[in-house]
């Protein structure tokens, strides 16, 4: 490696970290793995923000809750699900499993000084929110139509009462997305990497180069 070469400081989006830690059972694992492989190969520094970690923990709790739901038999009733949701045991299991997994992730990352860097007492300027607002005001997203689908068996079914089978939603880059970008810039990162195609809308508009895998 050329000693004069500047070490690339890469900001990773939450989807990359979580997908990598979930392993091959995640659809995007191989794409996420490329980021880490490249960091090893080219000696990149992966910048970890506290905001990203906060979102990652919440994502993990969602994944583990969804796992529990999917492990239930088909035909589970609303009454049974409410009883489960209200039970202390269920909450404890999800909380402990997700915290144990996430603690392990934090343990591994903090031990690896060669590849991971963490923000320390970063002072954020309120202007970053103004910049995000200005940016968002100049952009407009897209509309998407989604068919109704059962979360359990994943079959598409119309509403049993009115017969409607789809809904229309507005999809666009959003406040958390822009906040990630602003944080990456504040932390002096040289690249922002994500697997979310929505970020393509701001590549070339924001200062930091955005790579959508």
């Amino acid at each position: 490696m050329d000693t004069n070469q500047t070490v690339e400081k890469v900001y990773i989006d939450t989807n990359i970290l979580v997908s990598y830690t979930l392993g091959p059972d995640d659809d995007d694992y191989l794409r996420a793995k490329n980021v880490f492989d490249q960091a090893i190969r080219d000696n990149h520094t992966i910048m970890i923000s506290n905001f990203m970690l906060t979102e990652a923990l919440n994502t993990l709790r969602n994944v583990i809750t969804e796992d529990k739901y999917q492990s239930l038999a088909h035909g589970v009733t609303q009454t049974a699900l409410i009883a489960m949701a209200d039970s202390v045991e269920f909450k404890e299991v999800i909380a402990e499993e997700s915290m144990k997994s996430f603690s392990n992730v934090v343990d591994l990352m903090t031990r690896d000084t060669q590849h991971f860097k963490f923000e320390e007492n970063t002072k954020y300027d309120g202007v970053i929110f103004q910049n995000s607002l200005a940016l968002l005001s100049g952009l407009f997203g897209i509309f998407r139509v989604y068919r109704f689908r059962c979360d359990k068996c994943e079959q598409y079914n119309p509403c049993s009462t009115c017969g409607t089978n789809s809904s229309i939603v507005y999809k666009a880059i959003n406040a958390p997305d822009l906040l990630h970008v602003q944080i990456a810039q504040t932390l002096g990162c040289t690249k922002f990497v994500t697997m979310d195609k929505g970020f393509g809308a701001i590549d070339g508009i924001v200062q930091i180069p955005i790579t959508v895998l």
Partner: protein, 126 residues
């Protein structure tokens, strides 16, 4: 029990180092003396228990932080403290590989985390 209300101590091994033991002991004695003698420890200056405690913690930082560099050592410690992880840890450049698939799950259900996070950020459908 951590401040987050989770039983992290039972989940994560908590090996204590010599420095941790010293720091904890110093803190315990310092608290006790402060309760009994009030302001006595303050005029002791550099020989006060508070000072010794600070020096012990600083020594720990220097010894452990040596291989980490000072720049991010404190941020690593702070982060580990949030999750109840030990302040004694060794540098492991292979950890990045161990991170792959490190989350153990109850099912082999396929996930699409990118879509899940997109939905979380959009908060759609609910």
């Amino acid at each position: 029990m951590s401040s987050l209300g989770c039983k992290l101590d039972s989940l994560v091994p908590q090996p204590s180092s010599f420095f941790e033991t010293m720091a904890n002991l110093g803190r315990l004695i310092g608290d006790l003396l402060n309760d009994i003698y009030g302001k006595i420890t303050k005029p002791l200056g550099q020989f006060s228990l508070g000072s010794i405690l600070t020096q012990t913690e600083e020594m720990q930082r220097q010894v452990l932080g040596g291989s980490f560099g000072t720049e991010t050592f404190n941020s690593r410690l702070s982060l580990r403290a949030i999750f109840g992880l030990s302040s004694s840890f060794e540098d492991n450049p292979k950890a990045i590989e161990q991170l792959s698939g490190s989350v153990k799950r109850a099912t082999k259900r396929k996930t699409n985390v990118t879509r899940l996070i997109r939905n979380m950020r959009d908060y759609d459908g609910y």
